[in-house]
Amino acid sequence: MITSLYTAASGMNAEQKKLDIISNNLSNVDTTGYKSMRAEFQDLLYQAVKEAGTPTAQDSTLPTGLYIGHGTRLAATNRLFTMGNLEETGNSTDIAITGDGFFQVQLQDGKIGYTRDGSFKRDANGRLTTSNGLLVVPNITIPQSASGLSISPDGIISVKLGDGTIQNLGNLTLVRFVNPAGLEPTGNNIYLETQASGAPIEGVSGQDGYGALQQGYLEKSNVEAVKEMVNMIISQRAYDMNSKAITSADEMLRTVASLKR
């Protein structure tokens, strides 16, 4: 019918998806370790009616062509891995990472997942797990008789035993990715490695930008509510305007229909 009908519809479609992403950010504003996402748009392909650079006469070419655009599409959802605020909880098994690192957890299927959410718990056997009961890797088991768990900034976990001796339980190592934005989110604050993220590189917390561990703190989400609200307004208005373009095209079609009386 009219190209602009579909062009405007593509605009509405993209804005709607943008709103979905904004809503997801806002709903996770209180999720520990959540990293906000943003929508990135691209224009669609152009239909060349006249190519630029085609000869028009001897020694002269068209400086600009004639291209008809076909709208927009959501090209990518980019996750921004900036630091969230640290909040003190006073809980000894809460750990925040003050850098680029990720904790490793063992998923049900034996694969390794990655998370920034350090709100760990102890299961019945004294092992360190996530809130969903997934084991933290490397496995750390806290003896029943232990008191006073302490985690140093570089990941050494130690406890005080009943007889007053200090026992070293192991090192909590972190991993880093070349391109964390390429990680695949699987929900429950857990990411999986992909081709785009590159392989995990294990290292010691507190060195080379892995980020020191902060015991007794949690990292809040990095969602900036004000920015999201502003984007929501912009998105809604863009949606409105695109719907007007559809109405406009529709009126033109009605005009065509009334040509013949």
Partner: protein, 237 residues
């Protein structure tokens, strides 16, 4: 009889204007997008002659153009607003320059600086294509990438390639094609993105005017039609 064609072509032009407007509005949130402007031209020039008494030769008394067609769709290259994102892989260009992108054997140009770090350590765009430096080589970067206004990358001798373009046209997916001209005055702003330069108010106003134009031309077609009908009636005896 000819007027019906002029008006009909005019209606097609209004439709075409609406296509451009729709594309601009659809891309109002596309970073680095440059808005389309439709340019029309008059064609089919016709001369009017007056024939004085006792003369075989007419004197030209004026011209008219009997049709208007869409001539070009030109991207308007004004600067879009820069918005701070605080993401060190976002870059915006202040000035007329473009980033260079390698796509297969071709080099495309873009103003959309929402870059990423690929798993093998290169600076890439949203389509996964590598961004090029001044000598058309892909750029290896670190996560703590810092770029100064002139495009020099920290801890390397690399400089991100910025060129101006002549004869440019759009390719889609935020790419332009054109002829390179050396760029000297563009500045790179790290941590910013350039929004589209679509002026929504203007587009809405243009939309209304295209709509009304279309209706008026439709009336012109109808009156021509009724004149023809009259002419046909006269011949009935």
């Amino acid at each position: 009889m000819r007027g019906i064609y002029s008006a009909g072509m005019g209606m097609l032009n209004s439709l075409q204007r609406l296509n451009s407007i729709s594309n601009n509005l659809a891309n109002v949130n596309t970073n680095g997008y440059k808005k389309d402007t439709s340019l029309f031209k008059a064609i089919l020039e016709k001369e009017f002659y007056s024939f004085p008494k006792n003369s075989q030769k007419g004197i030209g008394i004026g011209k008219t153009e009997t049709a208007v067609v869409l001539d070009k769709v030109v991207p308007e290259m004004t600067q879009g607003k820069l918005v701070e994102t605080n993401n060190n892989f976002d870059m915006a260009i202040l000035g007329k320059g473009f980033f260079k992108v390698q796509s297969g054997k071709d080099i495309f140009y873009t103003r959309d600086g929402e870059f990423k770090l690929s798993a093998d350590g290169y600076l890439v765009d949203n389509n996964g294509n590598k961004i090029l430096d001044e000598t058309n080589n892909p750029i290896r970067v670190q996560k703590n990438l810092e770029i100064n206004e002139n495009g020099n990358i920290n801890n390397t001798s690399n400089k991100i390639g910025i060129v101006e373009l002549k004869n440019l046209s759009k390719k889609g997916t935020n790419y332009f094609i054109g002829t390179e001209v050396k760029d000297t005055i563009s500045k790179i702003k790290q941590g910013y993105v350039e929004k589209s330069n679509v002026d929504t108010l203007k587009e809405m106003v243009n939309m209304i005017s295209a709509n009304r134009e279309f209706e008026i031309l439709q009336k012109a077609v109808q009156s021509q039609d009724s004149l023809n009908a009259k002419a046909i009636e006269i011949t009935r005896t």
